[in-house]
């Protein structure tokens, strides 16, 4: 049962990931990325990592994809344009990098350097490991947890300084480079 679910989720993940990079329409690519994130969340659930699975859906498929879609709209991307030397060069570089990563994966599996099948032991109770994660996060890893809020605070202030400082300079129009610091 678990194996069949894993194969299903993995096949969906591979198929949707391929569609992300092969689809001509950038918005459709982004939506296939949502499907890829959801199938990855299913695989996390099979590993009894419920918290990671839910974070995958809430943060990645929810928030990060909104950001991606806004970037696509903001950059005003049209359909994928073929041709041009630098497009061909970029595509060639992508093929080379992908082939290297694939060869590395095959090599690792062939030499049995990859860990292989997962151990069947389940961390924590049957209900899930979110509780244990919480216990660790709020005792042993308390300092990193509190520092996270500072990192988020820096990000909040940073995004306001970058986006808001510019939009007040001139309403709608882009200021000349170097106009504001």
């Amino acid at each position: 049962m678990t194996e069949a679910l894993f194969i299903g989720f993995a096949a969906m993940l591979v198929a949707s990931s391929l569609l992300v990079i092969l689809h001509r329409n950038p918005v459709a690519s982004a939506l296939f990325l949502v499907l890829a994130f959801c199938s990855l969340a299913g695989i996390y659930l099979l590993f009894h990592a419920e918290f990671i699975g839910m974070v995958q859906i809430i943060v990645y498929a929810g928030a990060i994809m909104v950001l991606f879609l806004f970037v696509i709209m903001y950059l005003n991307l049209q359909r994928d344009e073929e041709g041009g030397v630098h497009i061909a060069l970029r595509r060639g570089l992508g093929w080379v990098a992908g082939t290297v990563v694939l060869a590395e994966g095959v090599f690792m599996l062939a030499r049995r350097w990859a860990p292989g099948p997962l151990t069947p032991e389940v961390p924590g109770e049957a209900a899930g490991n979110t509780q244990q994660l919480g216990m660790l996060l709020f005792s042993r890893y308390l300092f990193p947890f509190e520092v996270t809020s500072l990192v988020l605070l820096v990000a909040i202030i940073g995004v306001v300084v970058i986006a808001k400082g510019r939009s007040t300079a001139g309403s709608g129009t882009r200021p000349a480079p170097g106009e504001d610091g």
Partner: protein, 117 residues
């Protein structure tokens, strides 16, 4: 695996409902289209130009802020399930976390970053 049975049932009912209503309406709907039916009425003028216009950077500001507070909310889940064991100490820990982010929220309000001017 058994504990996911309710989730699975919920998912099955949701998919069946969505597919059923869309499928049924596409079967029983009468299709008598004419030029006047397809025209834009009561909801604005005929579209002019390309819909793919450049968007304002303010949308991006909202999206980034959404991610940041979403990540804050993610940390509330492990806190909520361990709330009883952690007790008062956990409450104080979480309050420190939230107050630091509250400073960011007050900064947003002060800078009027959430207003659409």
């Amino acid at each position: 695996m058994r504990e996911y049975l309710p989730v699975l049932m919920f998912l099955a009912v949701a998919i069946a409902f969505a597919a059923g209503t869309i499928g049924l309406s596409s079967i029983i709907v009468p299709r008598r289209s004419n030029a006047r039916k397809m025209s834009a009425y009561e909801c604005g003028v005929e579209p002019v130009g390309n819909a793919r216009a450049r968007f304002s950077v303010k949308f991006y500001l909202v999206a980034v802020l959404f991610i940041l507070f979403d990540i804050e909310a993610v940390f509330l889940y492990p806190w909520a399930v361990t709330f009883r064991q952690l007790g008062l100490v956990g409450l104080i820990e979480m309050m420190v976390f939230i107050v630091i982010l509250l400073i960011g929220y007050l900064y947003l309000l002060k800078k009027r970053a959430l207003e659409w001017d």
